[in-house]
């Protein structure tokens, strides 16, 4: 009897431990979510006051002059991202096609490994690379060097996700095209790539989302500018960089603008991430059909 009672107590103790454990695990999962909501809350509350028409369309004002905006930074972000995308997509897609066609073996495996390693290289080191290749030899900062750094940051994600997208197109689809007499080139460009396109666009959206808020490599590539700069060979204002420089100044007006810029950045990243999710869902449905 006594033994059975102690067994009973033992089980009760184990159940309580389990219940406590699950509570701790739940709390840990909640911490992440709650922190996100707190950060979002601050950015929205503080940033909403700064964002208005002038903020989106005007040049920055000098210290002490109220008003002004980050219009040139927004424009610069688009220009630098556009050039980076134009460079990253061809290189990334070609590498992805290579990896998906030639699948296994030491060389593709090695390339895959290099790509994964690149994805872990700190963005500041990539900024130094862009500086060494494109800023130091030309002796001036430029938007183009920032695009180059962004391209390096986008490539790993683009390569690996596009490779998976191309691979997920059923082999029978490709074989069908070949059986109808298409060359490998036409089969890839006309049949396989269009089928994989929604997933590839997902990859591109995620890659853009990854770099749009990136600041570290911009410090010594794009450098920043007070003017409406459209020439990619000149230093250019970028939104993320403006948020950083405004945040570390002691002026309340600029700090407020930093929150406004942060709101824009976070909004852009979330829209891109959500867009990528929707795209991915479409891609999955397309492949199932």
């Amino acid at each position: 009897m006594a033994q059975s009672a102690s067994k009973h107590r033992n089980l009760a103790r184990r159940r309580i431990v389990g219940w406590l454990g699950v509570s701790v695990a739940l709390a840990c999962a909640a911490i992440g979510a709650i922190c996100l909501l707190i950060i979002l809350g601050y950015v929205i509350v503080q940033g909403a006051g700064a964002v208005n028409r002038d903020f989106l369309t005007q040049l920055p004002h000098p210290v002490g002059v109220p008003g002004g905006g980050v219009g040139n930074g927004i424009l610069g972000t688009f220009i630098i991202l556009g050039i980076a995308t134009a460079m990253a997509v061809p290189i990334g897609l070609l590498t992805a096609i290579y990896l998906s066609l030639f699948g296994r073996g030491p060389i593709p495996e090695g390339l895959r490994f290099l790509s994964d390693v690149l994805s872990g290289v700190p963005s500041i080191a990539i900024g130094l690379f862009a500086y060494a290749v494109l800023v130091a030899p030309l002796k001036h900062f430029s938007a183009f060097s920032a695009s180059f750094a962004f391209m390096m940051l986008m490539l790993p994600l683009l390569v690996r996700t596009s490779e998976q997208a191309i691979r997920s197109v059923p082999q029978t689809v490709r074989e069908g095209a070949l059986a109808l007499g298409m060359s490998n080139f036409r089969a890839t460009v006309r049949i396989v790539l269009p089928t994989a396109m929604p997933a590839i666009i997902t990859a591109l959206l995620l890659a853009i989302a990854r770099v749009i808020g990136e600041t570290a490599p911009l410090l010594f590539t794009a450098f920043g500018s007070q003017f409406w700069e459209m020439n990619p060979n000149k230093p250019m204002a970028v939104l993320a960089l403006q948020v950083f420089t405004y945040a570390i100044t002691p002026y309340a007006n600029w700090q407020q603008q930093a929150w406004g810029g942060a709101l824009l950045l976070i909004g852009a990243v979330f829209v891109l991430s959500l867009g990528a999710r929707l795209m991915l869902r479409r891609a999955m449905r397309g492949l199932e059909a």
């Binding site: 454990g21 840990c28 950015v43 700190p122 990539i126 570290a216 976070i266």
Partner: protein, 316 residues
């Protein structure tokens, strides 16, 4: 290897002229990609060469960083980088793994999906936004509330003594932890979910509670992948720049207190690179970047190998 995927070999045979041209372009693109990565390494070595020649291996052990007399040593930055990353990984590993256990094994669908979604969004928040929040919200809160409370309880250890400035090692570590929690959580959750059901059922059949099964059976089975996730997250923490630069206080000193301002490899580059005037100064900064690059490569290669061994190279 060849038997595993014969269809690739067969389909990838390029015969017609158009195909040869296509193959050439595909090869060229891949070679360019590989060259970019190799070029990254070569340029960093070339850029830091004057500093490597002048200071030698002592660069790593020397603790003075003085641009005026051109004496450069990386030790304070290495210390700051290691300390902030350690704080971050200790916090993030516990929280992230526990969250992963909950999401994989215990969360009902209606709760698990939104929680996963929110935690994944945490990874999407730009670094500079973390820095902004850390600087204006977390740092003051550290100075007025968390810091004094910690000092009240643990002030007798050197780690928690000294003046509380707000910015410093601990604040930077907490911000970093927030930034890498999604990495730990997402990968660990996938690894845990991939553990075969039989194992859980066997454990439950032997009389374990669900919690005992999750902790004593499933977690050990998933340990390689989870460890890989933590190492990967550590790599992110080591190289994180802007957020850390904004909350670490930027002072090249080695101090026992976690409340003290410090400096990291990445943040000293971010702060001083455009102001560096002499070529040896620039070179020393690039050498810091090279150290960061090499460390992050080793850490990432390790993490990838561990995660690959569980999930296969094509699905990371």
């Amino acid at each position: 290897m060849q038997n595993a995927e014969p269809q690739f070999r067969r389909v990838a045979r390029f015969v017609s002229p158009a195909d040869r041209g296509f193959a050439a372009v595909v090869y060229a693109g891949s070679i360019l990609f590989a060259l970019l990565i190799v070029g990254l390494f070569v340029e960093l070595v070339l850029g830091s060469w004057p500093s490597i020649v002048k200071f030698g291996p002592a660069f790593i052990f020397n603790s003075s960083w003085d641009p005026i007399t051109s004496k450069f040593g990386a030790l304070p930055m290495i210390f700051g980088t290691v300390m902030t990353s350690l704080i971050a990984i200790v916090l993030a590993a516990f929280i992230g793994i526990m969250a992963a256990v909950f999401l994989a094994d215990f969360a009902p669908r209606w709760l698990g999906q939104p929680l996963s979604f929110l935690i994944e969004l945490l990874a999407a928040v730009p670094s500079v936004v973390y820095g902004l929040w850390g600087l204006f919200v977390l740092a003051p809160f550290m100075r007025t509330t968390i810091g004094p409370a910690l000092q009240h309880v643990l002030g007798w250890t050197p780690l928690f003594s000294g003046p509380i400035v707000g910015v410093g090692l601990l604040t930077a570590g907490i911000i970093l932890a927030l930034m890498i929690i999604p990495t730990v959580t997402a990968i660990s959750r996938d690894v845990i979910a991939a553990i075969p059901r039989d194992l859980r059922e066997a454990s439950m059949a032997l009389g374990s509670t669900k919690w005992e099964t999750a902790i004593r059976v499933v977690l050990p089975a998933a340990r390689v992948g989870i460890f890989g996730a933590c190492v990967l997250a550590l790599g992110r923490a080591l190289g994180e720049t802007i957020a850390v630069t904004m909350v670490i206080g930027n002072r090249p000193e080695i101090s026992a207190s976690l409340f003290a301002p410090s400096y990291t490899l990445a943040s000293v580059i971010a702060n001083e690179f455009t102001e560096a005037t002499t070529s040896i100064y620039i070179s020393a900064l690039i050498e810091l970047g090279l150290i960061l690059f090499l460390v992050s490569i080793v850490v990432n290669a390790l993490a990838r190998l561990m995660i690959w061994s569980v999930r296969g190279s094509e699905r990371v």
